[in-house]
């Protein structure tokens, strides 16, 4: 349980500062510090047990299907990092309290910082790969927020974006790598993975998994060639740089190397990939740290260099090297966080971090000078300080490595060169800032920082000295347990001491310090040499790449999506043609094995009329009314075709829909131009004719190929079970309301939504209302035709009776809710046509929207009702009932469902047509000319 506390307390802590106002800074900082402090105490309580070899673990199942557990562990490796995160985190909270300016939003800063702390703790304590990855991505996000904290400036925004892009991309690669590992091992549980090294190394997926995991680790820890984001992230407030970009977050990458060391290390691939990447990064970073002019840039590149050093140690496949790497993580965190804080103090007090302007600050801030000197000396690897110890261990390890075979001597030589550069930039950092004359061009007169601001630096400097002087006492215990967790076998016995006698590593250390001094003295030559290279701004390059990507995608969008419906149709049709044409080419003959039926003369005539009407619709499209009449001919012929081929339900539906469609289009045509202008170019017409002909050809071929092939249909099931299972003899209707009732429910919902959409489209519609036809003749002022009016009125009861009849018999004979609904709708619309909207509105004084909606509701409730009896949604029941006078009647719950369908169809159809009709009346134009 205490494990959960360690992670969750800082999360709670991210809320606390938000309770405080920006003015009450002390309160805000105290509130923030409380939770990490408690978490630190909890950790310290666990520490003796962990040092004794216990590994407290905790697991809750979270998403078992993904193998994701909320599992935490606190082994030696976790403990080392937890102490670093919480310890340095507390110092940072104190430091930030005095660093942030009045204008900065302190609660927000602390909230981000705590969020980051939580995610970092999550990474180091996660006992499940997926969980680890989630926290990993959370650090990327919280780091983004922290780097971009001064969001009103451009540089932090760009730096934050770059950091997020690089580390986020690496995070995705890491996820892929974790999934591969999970597939190899069969579990995402950390202990299972760590115990499965032999399986992992033998698997062919090892190399891709390793590459992906390393991509994640190297982007996070700013290893070459991904180092470029870290210096840009220095646009963050300095507490963030000290905490995230030196002590903790960038260590997540090397932490991962240590964490997965038992599972992934030991192979040649690991040795070469990891240690050479580390070596290159170490030299690259050290060189640029010597060149840079900004204090924080110097420290950033030196961080890159040190991370490279640690990576190299983890890559060497040697047990002692792992111990050295862990030791250097600890040491680097202490001296680098302290150095960043001194840089922040200088910046805070002098208003600049440019090393050319700063000089001789020791006069003004002696305490800070002393602290910076101690920690920089540790960074340089000066004896009696902690940096010296781990650096010497590193040098000793490079002597033993089998890397590069016969060229193995190169490694210690390059490592020594790296150390020389480290000594040189450390010296430059201290001497050029705090000594060497007097400051020039400073905007304000510097003075010593306040004591609370210096206190965190002081604490860290003391730690540097204590570890440097008494390594065996202070660090052996935690390092051994941490190494135990990072190695497959118990850690080698550790003899940390200041003096090992005269040996080769000591000589190398001495060379490094003396060489560093020489390089520093001769640095101007190096600078002159460096000026020959064109300066490269990684930010500009990155932004340029992003801009190019955006331009490229924008070009793609503009090309494909240019706002022209015709263009889209073209793409859709061409792709449809390509796909279906391909499959047609794949079959051997167009005609299948079924015998062809003979066509009778009536059918030929019918087909001829249909084809003629279809073609006429297209060719006469510029005369819209005639085109519309031709369309209705096609619709009627389609209805006849359904009747001819034994589908009475379809014939009835098509007939009714045809009527309402034509009425609708006639109404709409009233508001639209009566004729289409001639505007398509000849080439456009040729293109469209060819496309249409090709399309028609493919459709016809597909249809013919389908018709002449035997079909194994699932309909036999429906035919067999219609009476026994659905209680109806009309199989089509039983399918609609019972077997596939869920589909029908969806369909009537769409119908209802379309009706409501139309209702909204019609509200406040600005109309082009013509007062004459296209020839300029005014519309007839006649009222509604007398004969139609009287006939329709007497027809209405009949029509309603018919629709009830069709509805009731629908389950057993052609008919049903759809058809009955359409018949009712047509009958009512006839009233509108015959008598006008106002007349009809007075008599049909109900709203259609509620009818449509209640239809959908009834259908849904019928489905829900079956739950009450313990059946799945939309299970139907039926039975026979005896009704006096009428006789035996079979009633099914499906009938209720069909009632819903009926109401929806009536409601939606009338909602569309009656509302459209209404717009014609409310402001019917007088004789004014059409505006269009």
């Amino acid at each position: 349980m205490s494990l959960l506390l360690i992670v969750l307390l800082p999360l709670l802590g991210s809320l606390l500062p938000l309770l405080s106002s920006n003015q009450r800074r002390h309160q805000c900082a105290l509130l923030t510090a409380a939770m990490p402090l408690i978490a630190l105490l909890v950790t310290l309580r666990e520490t003796p047990g962990v040092l004794a070899g216990e590994v407290p673990r905790l697991a809750f199942s979270w998403v078992p299907a993904l193998g994701l557990d909320l599992a935490l562990r606190l082994d030696g490796l976790s403990l080392l990092f937890v102490l670093l995160i919480l310890g340095i985190g507390l110092l940072i909270i104190l430091y930030a309290r005095h660093y942030l300016a009045e204008a900065d939003n302190m609660p927000r800063f602390y909230a981000y910082l705590m969020l980051f702390m939580t995610s970092m703790l999550g990474i180091v304590m996660a006992d499940n790969l997926i969980l680890l990855w989630m926290f990993w991505e959370l650090t990327s996000l919280s780091s983004f927020l922290l780097i971009g904290f001064w969001s009103h400036q451009s540089a932090p925004r760009k730096g934050a974006r770059m950091a997020l892009a690089v580390t986020g991309m690496g995070g995705l690669a890491l996820l892929a790598g974790f999934i591969l590992i999970g597939q190899i091992v069969g579990s995402f549980d950390m202990q299972t993975v760590l115990d499965s090294r032999d399986v992992i190394l033998a698997d062919p997926r090892y190399l891709p998994a390793l590459l992906l995991v390393l991509l994640g680790a190297f982007t996070k820890s700013a290893q070459f060639p991904f180092q470029f984001w870290l210096p840009q992230a220095m646009a963050a407030p300095t507490p963030v740089s000290a905490f995230l970009h030196s002590a903790t977050m960038v260590k997540a990458g090397v932490f991962l190397l240590a964490r997965l060391h038992p599972a992934l290390a030991g192979s040649q691939e690991w040795l070469y990939l990891v240690s050479l990447t580390g070596l290159v990064t170490m030299l690259f970073g050290a060189y640029f740290a010597l060149i840079k002019l900004d204090l924080k840039a110097i420290l950033a590149y030196s961080t890159v260099s040190h991370l490279g050093l640690i990576t190299m140690l983890f890559g060497l496949n040697s047990q002692m090297a792992v111990v050295a790497g862990l030791f250097h993580i600890l040491n680097h965190a202490t001296f680098k966080a302290a150095l960043f804080m001194t840089a922040g103090i200088v910046d805070h007090e002098c208003g600049t971090r440019d090393i050319r302007k700063l000089k001789g600050l020791w006069r003004y801030m002696p305490m800070t000078t002393a602290l910076a000197t101690i920690t920089a000396a540790s960074m340089a690897g000066f004896p009696l300080l902690n940096g010296f110890l781990s650096k010497e261990m590193m040098l000793a390890e490079t002597l033993e490595t089998p890397l590069l075979g016969g060229l193995a001597w190169l490694i210690p030589v390059l490592a020594t060169i790296g150390s020389i550069l480290a000594a040189a930039y450390s010296l430059r950092y201290v001497r050029n800032t705090f000594f060497d004359g007097k400051p020039r061009e400073l905007e304000k007169t510097p003075h010593e920082a306040s004591f609370p601001m210096r206190l965190p630096v002081l604490v860290l400097a003391i730690v540097c000295i204590i570890i440097g002087l008494f390594p065996a006492f202070s660090a052996t215990g935690i390092l051994t347990t941490a190494a135990d967790a990072a190695l497959t076998m118990p850690a080698p016995e550790l003899h940390l001491s200041i003096w090992h006698g005269f040996n080769l590593p000591l000589l190398m250390s001495a060379i490094a310090l003396i060489g560093g001094f020489m390089v520093y003295v001769l640095r101007q030559h190096l600078f002159t040499f460096h000026r020959q290279f064109p300066s490269r701004n990684s930010l500009a390059i990155f932004e340029g790449a992003v801009q190019r990507l955006v331009r490229f995608t924008q070009w793609g969008i503009d090309t494909l999506e240019n706002g022209s419906l015709q263009r889209y149709m073209l793409w859709v049709v061409i792709s449809a043609l390509a796909v279906s044409g391909m499959s047609l080419m794949g079959i051997e003959t167009l005609k299948g094995e079924l015998a062809v039926q003979k066509a009778d003369p009536l059918l030929i005539v019918g087909a001829a009329i249909t084809c003629f009407a279809g073609l006429a619709t297209a060719f006469l499209h510029r005369r819209r009314l005639i085109s519309l009449i031709m369309l209705s001919v096609v619709g009627l012929m389609a209805s006849l075709a359904f009747a001819r081929f034994s589908a009475p339900d379809l014939a009835l539906t098509q007939l009714a829909v045809e009527v309402v469609t034509v009425i609708l289009l006639m109404l709409a045509l009233f508001f639209l131009p009566q004729k289409t202008p001639k505007e398509s170019s000849a080439s456009r017409i040729v293109r469209d004719v060819l496309l249409a002909a090709g399309f028609g050809g493919v459709v016809a071929s597909l249809n013919y190929a389908l018709l002449t092939r035997p079909l194994n249909s699932i309909s036999d099931y429906f035919l067999e079970h219609s009476v026994s299972g659905g209680g109806g003899h009309n199989v089509v209707n039983v399918i609609l309301v019972d077997f596939r009732g869920f589909d029908t429910l969806g369909e009537i919902t769409v119908l209802c939504i379309a009706g409501i959409g139309i209702y909204k489209l019609l509200s406040r519609l600005r109309l082009f209302m013509p007062s004459s036809d296209s020839e300029g003749r005014p519309w007839s002022p006649d009222r509604y035709p007398m004969i139609l009016a009287s006939v329709s009125q007497s027809l209405l009861p009949m029509a309603l009776l018919v629709s009830v009849f069709i509805f009731l018999r629908g389950h057993n004979a052609p008919g049903g809710g759809f058809i009955a609904g359409l018949v009712t709708a047509v009958a009512l619309i006839l009233m509108y046509i015959a008598h006008g909207v106002e007349w009809a509105q007075q008599r049909l004084s109900f709203q259609y929207q509620p009818i449509a909606v209640s239809g959908v509701a009834i259908a849904t409730l019928t489905g829900v009702g079956s739950w009450a009896f313990g059946y799945p949604f939309l299970t139907s029941a039926f039975g026979h009932f005896h009704i006096p006078l009428i006789g035996d009647v079979e009633l099914a719950t499906a009938m209720l469902f069909d009632l819903g369908v009926y109401l929806t169809v009536v409601g939606a159809t009338l909602m569309i047509l009656a509302n459209l009709g209404k717009v014609t009346t409310s402001h019917r134009p007088s004789k004014q000319k059409e505006k269009a």
């Binding site: 240019n562 706002g563 022209s564 015709q566 263009r567 149709m569 073209l570 066509a599 087909a607 084809c611 279809g614 073609l615 297209a618 499209h621 819209r624 096609v634 389609a638 001819r644 081929f645 034994s646 589908a647 379809l650 539906t653 098509q654 829909v657 289009l665 709409a668 639209l672 131009p673 289409t676 505007e679 249409a692 028609g696 050809g697 459709v699 016809a700 071929s701 597909l702 249809n703 013919y704 389908l706 018709l707 079909l711 309909s715 429906f718 035919l719 219609s722 009476v723 009309n730 199989v731 609609l736 369909e747 119908l751 379309a754 009706g755 959409g757 519609l765 082009f768 759809f818 569309i912």
Partner: protein
């Protein structure tokens, strides 16, 4: 008979598509309606062309017409009407708001390229 049916479907589909590729809203709506007729006939025919098949289940009936495509097409017809209605009223609305009945919202065929 099959060839006749398929040819008719093809001609309807071609006419419908030609209209759907026009530049004005009304022919496009008419074209889509025509196309939906063709598609409905096509879908319907996937169950085979049955002459004099029984429509309802009865003891003496011989051959039944395939009910499944019928059920699918039945709803397709109704939904097709809803879509026709929606698109034609959208066309009216566009004409009211934009002042043109061109499908691209103005009178040129390739708006974005011509504008610049």
């Amino acid at each position: 008979m099959e060839a006749l049916f398929a040819t008719t479907t093809g001609i309807l589909a071609a006419s419908g598509l030609y209209l759907a590729l026009r530049g004005r809203t009304f022919p496009v709506v008419v074209g889509l309606t025509l196309l939906s007729y063709a598609v409905n006939l096509f879908l319907f025919s996937t169950g085979g062309l049955t002459t004099d098949g029984a429509a309802v289940i009865s003891d003496g009936a011989g051959q039944y017409a395939d009910p499944l495509p019928q059920a699918l097409v039945l709803t397709a017809i109704v939904i097709g009407f809803a879509m026709t209605a929606f698109s034609v009223i959208l066309a009216m609305r566009v004409r009211g708001d934009v002042g043109s009945d061109h499908v691209n919202g103005n009178r040129v065929d390739e708006p974005r390229e011509d504008k610049s």
